[in-house]
């Protein structure tokens, strides 16, 4: 069966358009993935910065320079050595 010239032309045009669409779709998907990756990287960087900041704040709040004056303000004090007894905990017997 002989395929007419116009059919060939339309066929090639459709093929070319399909290839073009495929390339553009892949390109768009690539950009979308890159955007997502970029967003995630930024988010990770933000979270790391926030984590560092929070750890810093926790450490600062838990430091002796902050805690001791507050504890003393509440009437608490550091235990002296005679009030510290270190116990040797014996191993529990095993059957």
């Amino acid at each position: 069966m002989r395929v007419k010239g116009r059919i060939w032309l339309v066929g090639w045009l459709v093929f070319a358009l399909a290839v073009l669409a495929w390339v553009i779709t892949r390109d768009m998907a690539g950009y979308a993935a890159a955007r997502q990756l970029d967003t995630l990287r930024t988010r990770k960087s933000v979270l790391q910065a926030e984590r560092a900041e929070l750890i810093g704040r926790i450490n600062r709040a838990a430091s002796r320079a902050v805690l001791v004056p507050r504890a003393e303000g509440l009437g608490l004090r550091q235990s002296v050595d005679s009030q510290i007894v270190i116990l040797r905990v014996t191993e529990p017997e095993r059957n």
Partner: protein
């Protein structure tokens, strides 16, 4: 009008010519100018940049982060692009999130292209990203200290903006610095850039991580105690060194001035130690057989005029044995004993204790101290040195010398570095205790410790350092302060060097206070000794592995269990069971690191957690390495660094 056949022929010819033109042009573009067009197109859509390598982290001995790397940003502003409706919000965010003043913000917004140098963190610039015309730009990595200024001088800083690098950041710069890689950025049609997975160069290799010997909890105790002491005794500056005598590991090191300068003078600035040096003379006498502990001299009731000068004691004494000379810190007594020594003999003993030589610590600008050779000595140099003058030491050198006494006469090299670990978790260096030399015999070291115990508990000068439940050995020192070509009238350097516990010391502490001016608080016995006591008390109460509490523990629990009778504990007592664990928890104070190599991360985590260990992960996949190594005995609650990769699964 032409015939249809002619028209069709014309159209076909036109198509053919058109196709030929396209073919020729395509051939020209592809074959002749193809490379140029490809390059142009690539540069339109992509950009090559250097990928900065993450600088290594610095941890304490328990895996607590001391320094980490964070991304830093600058902020560029094009005021004309900011929509009017968002201008107010933009100004508010710039002020609130970047911590800028309104004046600073307005000044930059008046310019065509404004710029805020920062540096700002990623979190600070996050909300600004949504505002057109404000563009956060990634700058160089910055260093973040989660513990604020803790151990600031030791850690040091990197070189930036003309500031010179110092501290461990300087010494280990090549270790911490990674190898930069390259990355490709793709631009979308609107000009925004994204990092492409395509890569034409190597990935950046992160720098190695440093694990220090410092213990964060102890370092904080020491710094707090030192700050408190400077205020309480009105001292100009102070230094504290805490050393593990058996390994040479420095557990804490702090230097402070009343003005807040924290430069590590404990390593770089020598001082005349005064009476803390008397024990070295005693060691020389006993080693050479020129004196025994029970030999005595007449201490002239507190004042002795020699051929050259008048030597005084703080308290008048009659006859004193060598042990009592150390206990009472008698200048007259030690000088009379020192006259039995030859110069060379005295010099060699001082040199063996490390005086006049750098310890070799990994810190820049360490001082040698001063110890002149005997041929440079004057007629009274030996006597002066016996009292701790005409020689100078850094607090670290003094700690090292006393650590030799604590360690049965064997001197160890001090270190700040416990291990160096690559980003993949491979241990590149692990500190092994490094003996320097045997200074005195083990027997003599025990005798010296006994004498130093007498300083604290035998009615000696160090009684303000005495703990009730645990024994401390130590020696006070009060030296006139040098300055202006002589000694400054009324100015002293007070110090106290301690060994704790006295019989089998685990830590050596040097506390030095420079020119305490508070009334009645100018001597080592009244200033540095109580500071030492405060540090030890807080150390005992703190939850830190810097101290092995097992030898200090009392077997109360077993007594309770054996006779079934309860033991009355004073109502004021605070019972600290160490380590703190549930009665049905794993047995023992410590445990061995299990061999989890080859296991999945989940299985490894389960094993480690069942033993009460913490896990710190590097990489992903199958476990390849652990730090500490499998079989190493560690206290419960310790952090095990696990390195994993998925290379095995790929294979």
């Amino acid at each position: 009008m032409a015939k249809p056949v002619v028209r069709l022929g014309a159209v076909q010819l036109a198509f053919a010519i058109g196709a030929a033109i396209i073919l020729v042009r395509a051939a020209q573009v592809q074959l002749i100018s193809g490379a140029r067009y490809a390059t142009d197109a690539e540069s339109e859509r992509t950009e090559h940049r250097t990928q900065e390598a993450r600088r290594g982290f610095i941890y304490d001995r328990n895996g607590e982060i001391l320094v980490e790397s964070v991304d830093h940003y600058h902020v560029a502003v094009t005021a004309s692009v900011i929509p009017d409706s968002m201008r107010g919000e933009a100004v508010q965010l710039l002020i609130e999130d970047l911590g800028l003043s309104r004046t600073q913000v307005n000044r930059q917004l008046r310019r065509t292209n404004g710029y805020f140098r920062g540096p700002f963190t990623s979190a600070q610039v996050q909300r600004l990203r949504s505002i057109p015309g404000i563009r956060p730009r990634a700058g160089e990595q910055g260093r973040f200290h989660p513990n604020g200024r803790l151990a600031e001088a030791i850690l040091g800083r990197t070189a930036a903006d003309g500031v010179k690098a110092d501290g461990l950041e300087l010494v280990f710069d090549t270790v911490l610095t990674g190898v930069p890689g390259s990355k490709v950025l793709r631009k979308d049609p609107s000009g925004r850039t994204y990092e492409s997975p395509a890569r034409f160069g190597p990935h950046a290799t992160p720098g190695h991580d440093l694990y220090l010997t410092l213990d964060v909890a102890l370092q904080e105790i020491v710094e707090y105690a030192l700050d408190d002491a400077l205020q309480r005794f009105d001292a100009e500056r102070g230094d504290v060194v805490v050393l593990d005598p058996q390994s040479g590991e420095i557990l804490a090191l702090a230097s402070r001035t009343i003005d807040g300068d924290v430069t590590a003078k404990a390593v770089t600035d020598p001082f005349e130690p005064g009476s803390t040096a008397k024990v070295f003379t005693a060691a020389a006498l006993l080693t050479g057989g020129q004196a025994g502990w029970s030999d005595s001299v007449w201490a002239e009731m507190g004042e002795w005029k020699t051929e050259h000068r008048t030597i005084k004691d703080e308290e008048p004494h009659g006859y004193l044995t060598l042990a009592q000379v150390i206990e009472q810190s008698s200048n007259i007594g030690i000088v009379k004993f020192a006259r039995r020594l030859e110069s060379r003999q005295q010099y060699l003993m001082l040199r063996d204790f490390g005086l006049g030589a750098r310890t070799g610590i990994e810190y820049p600008s360490e001082s040698d101290g001063v110890l002149n050779r005997p041929h440079k000595w004057s007629g009274i140099s030996g006597e002066s040195m016996a009292m701790g003058y005409e020689l100078s030491v850094t607090p670290l050198q003094l700690a090292q010398a006393y650590a030799a006494i604590a360690n049965d006469g064997l001197m160890m090299r001090p270190t700040l570095i416990r291990s160096i670990v690559s980003a993949e978790g491979e241990i590149l260096y692990r500190h092994r205790p490094e003996p320097v030399r045997r200074v005195v015999s083990a027997e003599l070291a025990r005798e010296l410790r006994q004498a130093l115990r007498g300083v604290v508990y035998g009615g000696g000068t160090g009684e303000k350092a005495a703990l009730e439940g645990y024994e401390v050995a130590g020696k006070t020192g009060t030296a006139k302060r040098a300055g202006g070509g002589g000694y400054v009238e009324g100015a002293f350097i007070a110090s106290f060097t301690s060994l704790f516990p006295a019989d089998d010391p685990q830590i050596v502490t040097v506390v030095k206070l420079d020119n305490p001016k508070a009334a009645h608080f100018r001597f080592g016995s009244t200033t540095a000794a109580p500071v030492t006591k405060a540090v030890l008390e807080r150390l005992l109460a703190a939850e830190t592995g810097a101290l092995d509490r097992a030898p200090l523990a009392r077997p109360v629990a077993s007594e309770l269990g054996s006779n079934g009778q309860s033991r009355t504990i004073p109502a004021t007592s605070v019972i600290v069971a160490w380590p703190d664990r549930d009665s049905d928890g794993p047995a023992g104070d410590s445990c061995s690191v299990p061999d989890v190599r080859g296991l999945s991360l989940r299985a490894a985590a389960r094993q480690l957690h069942e033993l009460g260990l913490r896990m710190q992960l590097t990489g992903w996949g199958i476990v390849r390495t652990t730090d500490p190594l499998a079989g190493t005995v560690v206290p419960q609650g310790a952090t095990v660094r696990v390195g994993a990769d998925d290379s095995g699964t790929r294979r």
